[in-house]
């Protein structure tokens, strides 16, 4: 079968994932001129390959609340959470705190790692000594204007 590239084989689809969109590699016709695009293998862009690097460890969640608006996360936004990423300072995380999942930014505050929000009502939370657990790292936010 033409049109299969190694690319698709490595990105194994899961039942929960929409399947990669396959493009048909054909000639313009049986006779006549070959398509001028023939030498440029088309590979229609697929958001999955850009936003979902590790399908088995990627989960989608919905954001609620307004205290991360400063970082571009609004009520009802879709978050793409990749659990395989090692968290680093500056990342936005899903953290488990006292049985509740929270969206926070992992950042330095007064020289030590804190979980921060962008709202003055919620002061940064010192990580050291808290029983906070990492759930996943937010890879991207999808803010839909039309639904």
């Amino acid at each position: 079968m033409p049109g299969q590239s190694a690319h698709f084989i490595s990105a194994l689809p899961l039942t929960s994932q929409p399947l990669p969109y396959l493009t048909f590699l054909g000639r313009a016709g049986f006779s006549g001129f070959p398509s001028p695009a023939q030498d440029y293998e088309p590979c229609t862009l697929d958001l999955n390959t850009r936003l979902v690097k590790n399908p088995t460890a990627t989960f989608y969640v919905t954001a609620t609340g307004d205290s991360m608006e400063g970082w571009g996360i609004f009520e009802g936004d879709l978050l793409i959470v990749d659990r395989s990423i090692e968290p680093r300072l500056g990342h936005i995380l899903i953290a488990m705190l006292e049985g509740e999942a929270l969206i926070k930014r992992y950042a330095l505050y007064r020289g030590s790692p804190h979980l921060c929000s962008s709202h003055p009502n919620y002061p940064p939370l010192l990580l050291e000594g808290s029983d906070c657990q990492l759930w996943g790292v937010v890879r991207a936010v999808v803010h839909e204007y039309l639904r």
Partner: protein, 437 residues
């Protein structure tokens, strides 16, 4: 080496990934239609609530908030199981799912130390990427790997990974304190017969004379004894089916991508599985359908989907199972793939006799026992497949009772986990939406 990766309290663990408040709490998952408890967290086991306890008996505890009871959320469990299988396929040379929460991995060419390290790595990877706790048993044979896994679960000192090389003192000590009835494939009748001959522990069985085992019992038992010595002599398909699941799968003679061909194969497997189910007098609560492409053909598109369909009530009716198989196939079938293998697994089995006692949800079984028995008899006498079922009609919409089902976090866009930007944000959100009718 062969590894057995087995998730701890799989259904409950899946729920906890998305409901962190359930961590450390006694949690039970109920069967379809919220009949009885089919999965328990460690904390619920500690309360001495046995498997199969009818849900109504626990209603008081639930209302007082002492325990959490959830309806089974098969879509979630099925998706997490598919992720687990995929993660293992990415990390190991070969993988064979054995049930929804148990998978064999084959580590040929690895040294013992490498196997032990990989076991730990898999365990950490699964915990981090999927949020699921698992234990890993490693050994030269399937039978020992199963025992190693059991030991890893029982004894916290192993930190979830136990390796038995078949010859060392650990193996010997373990086999000496393992009752022969707990060895894979040794049922409780067989254990009684063995006990008469003085064989009571797994070690006794291992040291028994092979020829006598073959003569007095069966070839399979002689092989089990060899497996306990660390000599691999059982293919996975030859292993005794655990009582909790029945699997029928086969490779196609010729890989195929045609829906009708795949469907036909699955229908055959479904009918065979249903026969096995009736033979052991069980009823199934859920049906899993899976397809595999040829993983050795790197030049072809790869796809290893599976779908899990819960049944409206526990059933051994071939027609009900065929309907579920068709639904499952429609969910996962995609054209353009060349499928190599297809299979049907019946899950969460329950004893037919025991289930008859349920008054609230009379089993559908009563309506057809003679039909099914007749079909089985004819097929036994005249050969497999003499009578089979034609196309069944589209099933009526199945309305499962699932008053306490959690959201289907990984398979439905409108049921994603809600995460707040500050403490209490999710509660504020639900209380805002709740008053609507």
């Amino acid at each position: 080496m062969i590894g057995l990766v087995d998730a701890n309290n799989f259904y409950v663990s899946c729920e906890r990934v998305f409901q962190p408040k359930l961590e450390g709490r006694p949690v039970g998952v109920m069967s379809n239609n919220d009949g009885c408890v089919i999965a328990r967290s460690t904390e619920l086991k500690a309360l001495d609530i046995p498997m199969g306890t009818p849900a109504f008996k626990l209603e008081g505890l639930r209302q007082r908030g002492e325990i959490h009871l959830l309806s089974s959320n098969y879509e979630l469990y099925g998706d997490m199981s598919a992720r687990l299988a995929q993660l293992l396929r990415d990390a190991c040379p070969a993988v064979a799912p054995y049930s929804i929460d148990e998978m064999f991995v084959y580590l040929e060419g690895f040294t013992t130390a490498q196997c032990a390290a990989l076991g730990q790595r898999l365990r950490q990877l699964i915990r981090r990427h999927l949020g699921l706790p698992v234990c890993v048993g490693l050994a030269p044979t399937h039978t020992l790997a199963k025992l190693a896994n059991h030991l890893a679960k029982q004894d916290p000192r192993y930190q979830g990974v136990c390796l038995l090389n078949g010859q060392d003192h650990t193996t010997e000590a373990l086999l000496k304190r393992t009752a022969v009835g707990s060895v894979w494939g040794v049922g409780h009748r067989l254990a009684e017969r063995l006990a008469i001959g003085g064989v009571t522990t797994a070690w006794d069985l291992r040291e028994s004379d092979k020829k006598q085992l073959r003569k007095g019992f069966s070839v399979v038992l002689a092989r089990t004894a060899l497996e306990l010595r660390g000599t691999p002599c059982m293919e996975m398909n030859a292993l005794e089916q655990p009582r909790q699941r029945i699997m029928t799968s086969r490779s196609f003679g010729q890989p195929t991508g045609v829906f009708a061909e795949v469907h036909n194969a699955l229908r055959r497997h479904a009918q065979r599985s249903a026969e096995k189910l009736r033979e052991q007098q069980s009823l199934a609560r859920a049906v899993m359908v899976f397809l595999n492409t040829n993983r050795h053909r790197r030049d072809q598109l790869q796809y290893f989907p599976q779908a899990l369909i819960p049944l409206p009530s526990p059933s051994d009716d071939t027609r009900v199972i065929l309907d579920a198989v068709r639904q499952g196939l429609e969910q996962i079938y995609r054209p353009r793939y060349r499928f190599m293998k297809a299979g049907v697994m019946l899950l969460d089995l329950v004893d037919a006799e025991q289930h008859q006692l349920s008054l609230l949800h009379p089993p559908t079984r009563n309506r057809h026992p003679f039909l099914m028995a007749t079909v089985d008899q004819i097929n036994q006498r005249m050969g497999q497949g003499t009578i089979s079922f034609g196309m069944t009609n589209a099933p009526a919409a199945w309305q499962l009772r699932c008053a306490h089902r959690s959201d289907r976090y990984t398979t439905r866009w409108d049921e994603l986990m809600k995460v707040g930007t500050h403490p209490g944000a999710t509660q504020a959100c639900t209380s805002r939406t709740e008053p609507l009718p």
